[in-house]
Subunit: 347 residues, 2 copies
């Protein structure tokens, strides 16, 4: 049985929910970035051949899920629950993206933190043997997000330098009881060792073009609590990977942790900083969106774990819990950060 450690951490080391398959599907702009070669599928057309950007975003989820299933050697009848989420109103990318699989569905909303939330709930289901396998999937799409949250693209609005660029992408993971079918003897299987569900942290940030600043306090709180709960320090991990704090948020995170006496050393990186080339690509503070942390985790990061280059990582996806209505009404942007500790088996 999973057990609680410290104040908030859940430990799964007894049964080790395995990552059996994963896949990432991204757009053209992501393909042109430094991780372009690591994605399973990329599209040059922002519509992915569909009639709308919303339908295109659903297709990202369908394709990432299908590819993850295929790589895991599983079919959808072997998946007992799907945890899916996205940024669109009423999470329609998820509904339309996964409905064809006919898997019992639990829609999740944690803004850009949703992939970590999905992984935590998947691990709990698998560890308690209520599921053989769970599918965890999220997506975002630059064009559907811009028109919903900001301005119509045709308006050509200027973005401040602290703004982030919503990733067109989806990541899907299969968490299961059994080990991944090893295709290559040099490949390692990873598993979810522990996790922490974050609290809502509100530092009163109101600038919708500065999500990194709104989310950094939540990330700091989650990382600090996890390190305390597990009696570990940053040097115990190969990588502390935040979701999408971008340049501004990442700097703030380090400052906030330093105040708590925590030096993340050179262990910290951020999915929003990894996915684009910020010199060649005009993304300002970096990438963001439900698909940002999901597609980076389900490409470069898990590929490195598979090869044994990374053995023990902390994945801290961060979310800004606002809507256009709450912002227009002058409300602050509360942040949240959920943490998943992923380790290699038998290392």
């Amino acid at each position: 049985m999973a057990k609680r450690i410290g104040k908030c951490t859940i430990n799964f080391d007894d049964f080790k929910p395995k990552i059996r398959g994963y896949a990432s599907v991204c757009g053209n702009f992501e393909k042109e970035g430094p991780l372009g070669e690591t994605f399973d599928i990329t599209f040059d057309d922002s519509f992915l051949g569909e009639d709308s950007w919303e339908e295109a975003e659903s297709k990202l989820q369908t394709l990432s899920s299908e590819t993850a299933l295929k790589k895991a050697g599983l079919n959808s009848t072997e998946i007992d629950f799907v945890f899916a989420g996205d940024l669109l109103n009423q999470c329609i990318s998820s509904t339309f993206g996964v409905k064809k699989f006919e898997i019992p569905f639990l829609g999740q909303y944690g803004a850009c933190s949703t992939m970590a939330q999905n992984l935590i709930l998947s691990a709990i289901m698998v560890n308690s043997k209520l599921a053989r396998n769970c599918l965890a999937v999220t997506s975002s799409h630059f064009c559907s997000a811009e028109r919903q949250f900001r301005m119509p693209l045709e308006y050509g609005g200027q973005r401040p330098t602290c703004a982030q660029w919503t990733v067109t992408g989806s990541g899907a993971l299969i968490v299961g009881q059994n080990e991944r079918k090893i295709l290559d003897e040099n490949c390692y299987t990873s598993y979810i060792s522990s996790a922490l569900v974050g609290k809502i942290v509100d530092f009163g940030v109101v600038d919708v073009n500065n999500m990194g600043a709104a989310m950094a306090p939540a990330a700091a709180n989650t990382i600090k609590t996890f390190l305390e709960d597990t009696c570990t320090t940053p040097k115990d991990y190969d990588l502390i990977l935040t979701g999408d704090l971008g340049t501004v948020g990442s700097r703030l995170l380090k400052e906030l942790l330093a105040k708590e006496g925590i030096d993340v050393l050179d262990k910290h990186n951020d999915c929003g900083l990894l996915i684009y080339d910020r010199i060649k690509q005009d993304v300002h503070s970096g990438g963001s969106g439900c698909g940002c942390s999901a597609s980076v985790l389900c490409s470069l990061i898990l590929q490195k774990m598979e090869k044994g280059t990374l053995k023990n990582i902390i994945f801290v996806a961060t979310g800004a819990l606002m809507s256009t209505t709450s912002s227009q009404q002058g409300k602050s942007i509360p942040g949240i950060a959920h943490l998943v500790n992923i380790k290699l088996m038998n290392i």
Copy 2:
């Protein structure tokens, strides 16, 4: 440990996650309905003293949660997870409604089925001993929902007779490991005996003014699967309570089940039919919204269980997984229904 029964059902009878507290908070229109006397708190002012309807909806969640905690004799530090959801874009009622409690937060989206989803995940957390107690809360508000999903209220649009009226209300439940502190020796404690997570069912309904028809197929599918999994029939239950199918959806549900050879007899009722007086109140097909099934469950129904009038019920909350964008783009309205079987202890 919880275990799986049949194809999809989860059984919690080994450890019996208890309902330790519950509360409902509603608006004036609900107060004037047949359940008016059963709600813990009601408000005459649709703003609840706040500046906007969205803030008012958050306040519904805050108050129902506080009241449920109080009735359970617990404080927020004794709650390990909160599962919350609502209908507003990016679930802001939940974020702003529960952030003050500083409880690890997992935002849920299942449209009007969310209360059942929250209860299922709470029961899993408690049954696996990952939580001492969980808070499950949802809300909806007629005014915030109308302006987001339909028309500004000032427009005075006509509604067809199959349309439903969004409930201004919130229900909150505490699910915990220990029995409720019994205040009266004639009060019974209820617990979550089993549950079923629904699949997305899409019959191609596109009329946003006929949500009942869009959700009925999902409810029929969930009820049928549950009865098969548990080898039970409707006569084994005191009540089969659907979320908010309203008049049209309830009639369709019975037709669909009859085709499967299932006669729900006089056991069926619907939260959307119970909450308003459809003769005196101009609500057309009945109530709806995340707060509908939640406030009916957390008032009349659990009060009847407490008194022993109801001993074994099926609560099937239903959701229509659409957004204004998906409907404007001509997409269908997929439905979902999650089921929770609640029983009395020691009966």
